[in-house]
């Protein structure tokens, strides 16, 4: 997969030099994908350190393909949580991707096989790139595909590198890989902490999870913290005016 010529933009076929703006979009997409690939290395390493084999780790990157859900899934299993809690948390975290595809689709207008592939690529980064290059609509589509395909390739490559690397390490505690899981999740959370409301939700959710940890099965306190988002989302907007 070259990644530089996304299948949806056949009219910009071989031999046609992309206009400068496309080259800029492409460069940005590659830099985003490289950063995500580095993230995937740590995901692969942590997943294997928590007991998944290389195939299972790689399957999650290929089929689930949404970083926060993958990290949550292996994190909860690694912490001794049940499979049901791990699956539910991954699904709750992945729900936002449905919103992304809902807002992307009027612009992408994909049918058939491209719809099935495009849906898999509807994640944080592709949505951000597609919205950042909203006009003209061809650029928006280009940004979506070029970001999505590069990211998919490097995300899976990074996963493989990290997973194979971790198979030689052994006990996660030795190299502080357990602390790496928390740091990776925090790095995902960090850019979202843009105002007081987000900080309030963060502290409340963390508090709920910690208070419930001694009384509920591992994994369940995290699910319980979802209630914080429910309550905050249903409160009248004016309560959050900064």
């Amino acid at each position: 997969m070259s990644g530089s010529e996304p299948p949806s933009t056949g009219r910009y076929g071989r031999g046609v030099a992309p206009p400068p703006t496309r080259r800029q979009i492409h460069a940005k997409a590659v830099s985003i994908a490289v950063a995500s690939g580095a993230y995937a290395i740590s995901y692969g390493a942590i997943a294997v350190a928590t007991g998944l084999d290389v195939w299972q780790t790689q399957t999650l990157s290929l089929l689930m393909f949404t970083g926060a859900s993958q990290f949550a899934f292996v994190g909860i299993l690694g912490a001794g949580g049940g499979m049901v809690a791990a699956v539910l948390t991954a699904l709750l975290l992945g729900a936002r991707n449905g919103i992304y595809s809902m807002s992307l689709w009027p612009r992408l207008q994909l049918r058939g096989g491209r719809r099935l592939i495009g849906a898999q690529l509807a994640i944080d980064e592709t949505t951000a790139m597609s919205i950042a290059h909203a006009e003209p609509v061809e650029d928006s589509r280009y940004a979506f595909w070029v970001t999505g395909l590069w990211l998919f390739a490097l995300w899976n490559l990074g996963t493989l590198v990290g997973a194979l690397g971790a198979t030689v390490i052994g006990d996660p505690g030795t190299f502080g890989l357990d602390a790496a899981t928390a740091a990776a999740l925090l790095a995902l959370l960090w850019p979202r902490l843009v105002d007081r409301q987000m900080w309030a939700i963060t502290l409340a959710a963390a508090g709920v999870a910690i208070v419930l940890t001694p009384v509920l099965q591992p994994g369940v306190p995290v699910l319980a913290a979802a209630v914080v988002a429910l309550v905050a989302g249903l409160l009248p907007t004016r309560m959050w005016v900064r």
Binding site: Y39, I41, S42, T59, L63, M64, F65, A68, A72, F73, G75, A79, M83, V87, L91, L93, G94, A95, R96, N97, G98, I99, Y100, M102, L104, W105, L116, A119, Q120, A122, F175, G176, D178, A179, A180, A182, A183, L185, L186, A187, L189, I201, T202, A205, A206, A209, I210, T213, L216, Q217, P218, P221, V222, A225, A226, A229, A232, G233, L234, T237
Partner: protein, 102 residues
């Protein structure tokens, strides 16, 4: 293990696909949109807390907390993702190697 992996993976894909068939009018409900948008913040925050201080069904203050503190400093200094993760791992692993923390 495989069943859980496939259910979670296909479920996450179904969520993405569902967004392509639902009418955009669902998004016009401000509260639904906001609640779904806040969900990752709450879940990630809870995960960070549990991954740092949880130990099965009990709480523990160990090298992981120092690792998280190091990660916060790295994030404030705008370090790239991989650096944040490595700083946390090295801090926690180093403290254990020195015998200063469990």
């Amino acid at each position: 293990m495989w069943i859980g992996i496939l259910v979670a993976s296909l479920g996450c894909y179904a969520e993405k696909l569902l967004g392509t068939v639902l009418p955009a009018s669902v998004l016009e409900n401000e509260r639904i949109r906001r609640t779904l948008g806040l969900m990752p913040v709450a879940l990630l925050a809870a995960l960070v807390a549990v991954q740092t201080f949880g130990s099965g069904m009990s709480l523990a203050l160990d090298a992981r907390a120092a690792g998280l503190a190091a990660a916060i400093i790295a994030l404030i200094l705008r370090a790239p993702f991989l650096v944040v993760v490595i700083v946390a791992a090295v801090t926690a692993g180093g403290l254990r190697a020195l015998g200063w923390a469990t």
